[in-house]
């Protein structure tokens, strides 16, 4: 606060770094080959899912161990809406997310009355029931073989001629990362609003939050509903990007992966789940040597992070920065 000058240049530097980063993100599909781009797209979907779990886990303090079910509901709902209902992807995207939200609301009515491990186990139970429905309700879900031939997002015809087609990986990159940006934007707005403050009050102390007049159930329901909405978006994107879904993509194992992403990245931040999702989806693919040991390493990582780095990688970064700025001040 002594002089504004160095502060300004710092923020200008930040701005430049931000712009450079933005340009890099936009140019990225032209810089990498097809297969890496595919992996980047997949990891974009996981970013949305991890953010969805992270909102609950990091800000409300409740761990959902059944989020893969909502991811699956989004995917199956969109498959039904587009393939049986004949809707365009662009209508099906919000609709399937709303269908997911509806199920999220219902499941939230029951599960949100519980807290901590009880809530986690209850969501796990719902996740398993929904997975069993995907496997056994053949008329609706295609059974264990899944559904093939899911159409890519339909092309958009621009008013003055020209079309935006979504057959290519490149086009899907912009679609997926556009929605990643939207997710981050919406969550940022929520977290930095009064609602977000209420969430965090719940996380710190339920009784205290209630005593200062926060309607605990209402805010928990709101958080769960928003979270399942984005899980639905992720599911819908996944179905239309991969053109194939089966119940094996939506198991409790995947729910655990999401929890691991959030914790390894860093709970209670927005960047944490993003880092966690990228780290856990991209790195094992890029380092082929560890691909087979991927899940073993995930499990190991989760244990080490919980024991030694409770704030995840973001916490490590912050600690490093703090110690750096302290030493530079001296």
């Amino acid at each position: 606060m002594e002089s504004g000058e160095p502060h300004m240049s710092l923020s200008a530097r930040k701005f430049c770094i931000g712009c450079g980063f933005g340009v890099l993100l936009i140019a990225l599909p032209f810089l990498v080959k097809d297969y890496p781009l595919h992996l980047i797209n997949i990891s974009g979907i996981w970013i949305i899912l991890a953010l969805s779990v992270g909102l609950l886990q990091g800000y409300v303090g409740e761990i959902s161990m059944g989020h893969a079910a909502f991811y699956g509901i989004g995917a199956y709902a969109s498959v039904l809406l587009t393939m049986k209902g004949g809707l365009s992807f662009w209508f099906s995207l919000p609709l399937s997310a709303l269908v997911t939200t509806f199920f999220g609301f219902l499941i939230g009515l029951v599960s949100l009355r519980l807290r901590g491990p009880y809530f986690a186990i209850c969501t796990l139970g719902f996740g398993e029931i929904i997975r069993l429905l995907f496997v056994n309700w053949r008329e609706m879900s295609g059974g264990p073989d899944g559904v093939t031939g899911i159409p890519a997002p339909h092309p958009i015809y621009l008013p003055f001629g020209g079309t935006l087609a979504f057959g290519s990986k490149r086009a899907n990159y912009y679609l997926i990362y556009g929605l990643v940006a939207l997710t981050i934007g919406v969550m940022y707005r929520i977290i930095h609003s009064r609602t977000g403050k209420a969430f965090m009050a719940l996380r710190e102390d339920h009784t205290y939050a209630e005593s200062i007049g926060i309607n605990v159930m209402r805010y928990k329901r709101l958080a769960f509903t928003v979270s399942t909405f984005f899980a639905g978006i992720g599911g819908c994107l996944y179905a239309h990007y991969e053109h194939f879904i089966s119940p094996y993509s939506f198991t409790t194992g995947q729910s655990f992966d999401l929890v691991i992403m959030v914790i390894v990245g860093g709970m209670g931040t927005l960047i944490g789940p993003v880092i966690g999702a990228i780290l856990l989806t991209l790195v094992p693919e890029l380092l082929h040597a560890i691909k087979d040991y991927r899940m073993v390493i995930y499990g190991m990582m989760l244990m080490l992070v919980i024991i030694y780095l409770p704030h995840g990688l973001v916490g490590v970064w912050q600690a490093m920065r703090n110690s750096f700025s302290k030493s530079s001040r001296v």
Binding site: P117, I121, G125, E128, F256, V296, G299, M301
Partner: protein, 284 residues
């Protein structure tokens, strides 16, 4: 027919009960919800499998070895994974156990592959007739062993010094510590006991059905259902809950739908959690 089904239900229920007792004493005494309990069960089954199939060891001896080995695995897990988190929020135990579950299950897949294996014990195909019920000899052994273990456990917890220390910890942690109960000792021992029970259950179920690295997750979830149904921390609840779940599954799969056999367990879970979260015999 009905009596036959009930007998099958008791076989299932008694092994579920063993799993559930292990899970429930960990919670009751140490406040730890251990999701990796099912992986200990899986490892117990593999130890028994390797002893029986590769080394031709007698099944009962293999069962004892599997039980003790899993007790030791439990002690190591407590020391390395759970003890460092003792003074932190209890939800951390739960999360770290997800890590342990993922780690052990995938380590198993890496070493042994996903294909199902069978111990192919001769007594698993011999049948015996008791009144109207026809049951394989191995299933009869399973029930008898489970009942024997449960009775033994009861006397141990009632009368031994360690059993008393465990009960003291369960009733009032602070008071137990002030009268000189060693928390490290009780923690290690509780993990030994709980994991040993999972090892017994795994070896028994492995002898009846198949052995593979993903076999632990289903029984873990069922043990959870039982423990929550019976009341977290209640041993009696775990036994009663185990029998009820075993019967429900057998009856529901033969009279309603076998495809949704597992769904009934979760339905019970959700109903209990919604209407009576403390369970049948729970205190809190």
């Amino acid at each position: 027919m009905l009596i036959q089904q009930l007998a099958n239900g008791i076989v299932l229920g008694s092994t579920y009960g063993l799993m559930a007792i292990g899970l429930t004493i960990l919670f009751g005494i140490l406040n730890i919800i251990n999701l990796a309990h099912g992986e200990i069960y899986m490892l117990g089954a593999f130890v028994a499998y390797f002893l029986v199939v590769l080394w031709g060891v007698n099944f009962f001896f293999a069962l004892v070895v599997a039980t003790l080995a899993m007790g030791l695995v439990g002690v190591v897990a407590e020391r390395l994974v759970f003890r460092p988190l003792r003074d932190k929020d209890e939800i951390n135990y739960f999360i770290v156990s997800v890590g342990l579950l993922t780690f052990l299950e995938n380590l198993g897949l890496l070493f042994w592959g996903p294909e199902p294996r069978s111990m192919a014990l001769p007594q698993a195909s011999q049948t015996i007739r008791i009144g109207e019920v026809i049951i394989t000899v191995q299933r009869l052994y399973t029930v008898l062993i489970a009942v024997g273990v449960i009775i033994g456990l009861h006397f141990f917890i009632k009368h031994s010094r360690m059993g008393k220390a465990m009960r003291a910890m369960e009733q009032d942690r602070e008071a137990a510590l002030t009268v000189g109960v060693e928390i490290d000792e009780v923690s290690s021992f509780t993990f030994f006991l709980g994991s040993a029970l999972a090892g017994t259950a795994g070896a028994l179920m492995g002898s009846l059905f198949i052995v593979n690295p993903v076999m632990g997750f289903g029984p873990l979830l069922k043990a959870f259902v039982i423990v929550i149904f019976g009341g977290l921390g209640s041993v009696l609840g775990a036994i009663v809950g185990g029998l009820i779940l075993g019967m429900t599954e057998v009856l529901a799969s033969s009279y309603i739908s076998s495809a949704y056999q597992d769904a009934f367990a979760f339905l019970i879970l959700i109903l209990v959690l919604s209407f009576k979260p403390t369970g049948l015999f729970g205190k809190r």
